[in-house]
């Protein structure tokens, strides 16, 4: 592979940028894991699940700041929706208590429904935005809701030195 595009803007001009799922597979087979960046939790509003929107410097050359911030803000919104204490959570709680929590064998909790939405959103973001830039987001639930893990991949063979075949992708699916 002769000069693979390295900067974020170059990658957006790639012809295969819109082929989403195919690109994720390519990422795992042809790129090697270079680094991992961890976005920590933001506790300023208490113990609700919220992540810091501060842009990490390691991603400076890989992705635009606005795209990253939009992703994190969207995730924060989803988590806020899941943890909202309001009418629906009261009804769910009372119904569950009256049925001795057997009702959860039949219906899904609201939090689980939102977690599925989050999982779909992260997959979509990975396919459309992050994989074309050589990045991969891991769902925070796989890391105990402590961090958003972003794996940074480098194209194999483009660095020049014998990087070997150290392709171990221990992040996500």
């Amino acid at each position: 592979m002769s000069s693979a595009p390295r900067t974020a803007t170059e990658r957006t001009k790639l012809p295969y940028c819109h082929e989403s799922f195919h690109n994720l597979q390519e990422l795992r087979h042809s790129a090697s894991l270079a680094n991992k960046v961890f976005i920590q939790r933001d506790y300023t509003d208490g113990t609700v699940c919220k992540f810091q929107t501060k842009f990490p410097s390691e991603l400076d050359s890989r992705i635009e700041r606005t795209l990253f911030e939009d992703t994190v803000k969207m995730l924060n919104n989803y988590y806020a929706e899941a943890e909202k204490i309001g009418g629906q959570s009261y009804i769910e709680g009372c119904l569950a208590c009256l049925t001795v929590y057997l009702v959860f064998l039949c219906i899904e909790t609201r939090y689980d429904k939102v977690l599925k939405k989050i999982s779909r959103y992260i997959q979509e973001q990975n396919e459309k935005v992050y994989a074309p830039r050589g990045l991969l987001i891991t769902d925070p639930i796989e890391r105990g809701m402590r961090v958003i893990e972003i794996s940074v991949y480098e194209d194999r063979g483009s660095s020049g030195s014998s990087s070997g075949s150290s392709t171990t992708s221990s992040s996500g699916r």
């Binding site: 090697s32 894991l33 270079a34 680094n35 991992k36 961890f38 939790r41 933001d42 506790y43 300023t44 509003d45 208490g46 113990t47 810091q52 929107t53 501060k54 899941a82 943890e83 909202k84 204490i85 959570s89 009261y90 769910e92 709680g93 009372c94 569950a96 208590c97 001795v100 929590y101 959860f104 909790t109 609201r110 939090y111 689980d112 977690l115 639930i141 796989e142 890391r143 105990g144 809701m145 402590r146 961090v147 893990e149 150290s166 171990t168 992708s169 221990s170 699916r173």
Partner: protein, 385 residues
């Protein structure tokens, strides 16, 4: 030996979880390590209720009302359901950091520490965060290799960090944390009601029957009554007291752990930043908040490396091992500083090539604020955004 049958047994993630929990039913049930007192609790509740149904209920159903045993049955079912739910569910265990995350945190700590002179203790690992305009200190857990989220604490019996840790209850055989606190509270509340109910109707039964046949004959006919009254009498004080205590904690949105440590009491201490300053709102948050999911994924299937000849050390994708070769690919050079909390199997592998002096194993104790020559505690200040 022509054909070798390889039976592929699916390995689920609970089998490889660190910590000292007990798992049953292929990972569906999760309990603490010591279960003896839990069996005693079960025995006392089931035993006393059986005696009640056997001795008192027939008489009371006939002479007073059939609703009495019916209500007792409902209450008993509720108590057992809450007990089993508290004991068998994940209290909110925080999984340990994978090596990359642990290294990332180590590098952050070292960046904040700056240069530590040889011979000096490294400063304690504390992060200050601002929650609702109060400064809260987050401590580093050497076992789990994470900065504990606010209100989380490490349970030494289960060897896990638990979110919103309340206490480890031997009676239910499990930790009480974010995910099962409301079941624990409902268990104590319903058990108080059940105990008062059985105690009251025992007295009523003895009185009614004594009117007919005399006190001594009553005891002879229903010997179980004496046992029930004894158990209920002693249980009453402790369980009702516990329920009252937890009601008080819920109204203030505090945990037992915080109450014992006096985190929010005292003049110079921070006020509780999690309290909504309204009893109703606090109760709603603790009892009516959405059911949090377990982040442990106990029943997930572990991916095994099919091409490796040694299946025992296969690099499963999501497993946490202390000597994970993946960490070599990441840019991390900070060795982990061993101390008395570091698990023994990790100690030989780390600390080699470290330039800091690993003088005393007791370096995690924070230096007293008045000692002038100690390095000031490294405080990683969290910028808000």
């Amino acid at each position: 030996m022509s054909a070798v049958m390889i039976t592929r047994k699916v390995t689920r993630k609970w089998e490889k979880l660190p910590g000292k929990n007990t798992f049953c039913c292929d990972g569906r049930v999760m309990m603490g390590r010591q279960k003896g007192v839990f069996y005693l609790t079960l025995f006392l509740i089931v035993g006393t209720c059986s005696l009640f149904f056997a001795f008192e209920c027939p008489y009371l159903a006939v002479h007073l009302s059939p609703a009495i045993p019916v209500f007792a049955v409902l209450l008993f079912v509720f108590v057992m359901a809450m007990l089993l739910r508290t004991s068998f569910s994940d209290p909110g265990v925080l999984p340990r950091a994978l090596p990359e995350e642990a290294n990332f945190i180590e590098m952050e700590i070292e960046a904040a520490n700056g240069n530590v002179m040889a011979g000096q203790r490294p400063p304690p690992r504390i992060k200050n965060v601002q929650i609702n305009n109060q400064i809260v200190k987050l401590k580093y857990c050497y076992t789990c290799k994470i900065f504990r989220p606010p209100r989380a604490s490490h349970c030494s019996i289960c060897d896990n960090c638990v979110d919103r840790f309340d206490h480890h209850c031997p009676w239910v055989g499990n930790c009480v944390g974010k995910r099962n606190y409301r079941y624990f509270y409902l268990f104590t509340l319903s058990l108080s009601l059940l105990t008062i109910y059985i105690f009251a109707f025992n007295i009523v039964h003895v009185v009614l029957r004594s009117v007919d046949s005399g006190f001594v004959n009553t005891i002879k006919e229903t010997p179980g009554t004496v046992l029930e009254v004894l158990v209920c009498f002693f249980t009453l004080w402790s369980v009702v007291g516990l329920t009252g205590f937890h009601t008080y904690l819920i109204s203030l949105n505090q945990t037992t752990n915080e109450d014992i440590k006096g985190s929010w009491s005292g003049k110079n201490r921070v006020q509780n930043p999690y309290s909504h300053k309204s009893i109703i709102k606090n109760c709603c948050e603790v009892l009516c908040s959405p059911t949090y999911p377990s982040v442990l994924d106990r029943r997930g299937v572990m991916l095994e490396d099919l091409s490796s000849p040694t299946p025992s050390d296969a690099s499963a994708a999501s497993t946490h091992q202390s000597s994970n070769p993946v960490s070599q690919t990441t840019k991390s050079s900070a060795p982990l500083i061993p101390n008395e909390h570091t698990p023994d199997e990790a100690k030989p592998g780390i600390g080699s090539g470290t330039q800091k002096s690993t003088s005393s194993p007791k370096e995690e104790k924070p230096p007293s604020p008045t000692s002038p020559n100690a390095v000031a505690p490294a405080v990683i200040k969290e910028s808000s955004h």
